[in-house]
């Protein structure tokens, strides 16, 4: 695996994503749900909302890096707020 140039932070990042995917898969199997329509006027399941959260978080981090440029971990707080909003209203 040397050629993949692994580092601890990137491994932790992918492990978190994998854990989220596994958790949401288990949730989908154990507690099936019907899609709901939120403020975006589109039908979403838990998985869809996770996707929107992750994609949005990537852009939030990039925007923070480009506009603020320091204290990057604080961007994660914005991401958590974003996640809460997506899961509540989308």
């Amino acid at each position: 695996m040397d050629w993949m140039a692994w580092t601890w932070p990137t491994a932790a990042f992918f492990a978190t994503i994998a854990a989220l995917l596994i958790t949401f898969t288990v949730l989908a199997i154990r507690f099936p749900e019907t899609p709901r329509t939120g403020i975006l006027r589109i039908e979403t399941t838990r998985g869809d909302r996770l996707f929107i959260t992750l994609l949005g978080s990537a852009f939030i981090n990039l925007a923070w890096l480009g506009l603020v440029g320091e204290h990057q971990p604080y961007a994660l707080i914005v991401c958590l707020a974003w996640a809460a909003a997506v899961f509540r209203w989308v």
Partner: protein, 289 residues
Amino acid sequence: MDKPTNHKAWFLVLPVLVLVAFSAVIPLMTVVNYSVQDTFGNNRFFWAGLEWFEEMLRSERMWNALGRQLIFSATILAIEVPLGIFVALNMPKRGVWASVCLVLMSLPLLIPFNVVGTIWQIFGRVDIGLLGYTLDRLGINYNYTQNAVDAWITVIVMDVWHWTSLVALLCYAGLQSIPDAYYQAAKIDQASRWKVFRYIELPKMAGVLMIAVLLRFMDSFMIYTEPFVVTGGGPGNATTFLSINLVKMALGQFDLGPAAAFSIMYFLVILLISWVFYTVMTNLDRKGG
């Protein structure tokens, strides 16, 4: 009676998952790993943190390439979509000529990208190309290797030549699915040609048109081979689109870190746009029943 449920069918998807992991997921993970490190070769890496992302976000070269890319995609969509619809509306509906038209329209789609590039590269040359030579003889100052506007026109016309057929064929398929009864009803109501298009043909084409727009947008947003063969990204950087810029960075300069950071941002933009298109398309399907 309860319907038996089990998830064993998921194992049938396993081969595809393995294939996608090898061809897409593992390379993407490697790109993420590269994006936070620096290397001087020999597969030795040094931690760089978010430096490359910061550099890319402040890189004028990247923003310029993105701007050019957006202008290019918007221009070809603005030309190819109306032109494709116009061609589809005027194609014969049935008979021998319908088949002849279909074959002729498919031809440009079957030509490999680099061959299309080579065709236009030669076609536009002032010394030996039919187009370049003719324009030169007509007294029009045309030279795509030196003039940025000429290079842009050549690349856009080439894309329109190559891909309008796709939009036309998809729209044609949409039009063919409209039952004659709709047209007969419109005739009884004395609907104008515009109203037939606006209230019968366009709504029936909406689904395939959306697919056409998505395909053309994605393809044009990732375009590499054709403009690279014709202009090589020049003159200067005039036709250096995102992927040409990326290849120059990753393979030309071997700046793996910045190129990886750039790739990830490129990927995120494409992912976002694909998701928006996909959502709009599935919603359209649902509304259309």
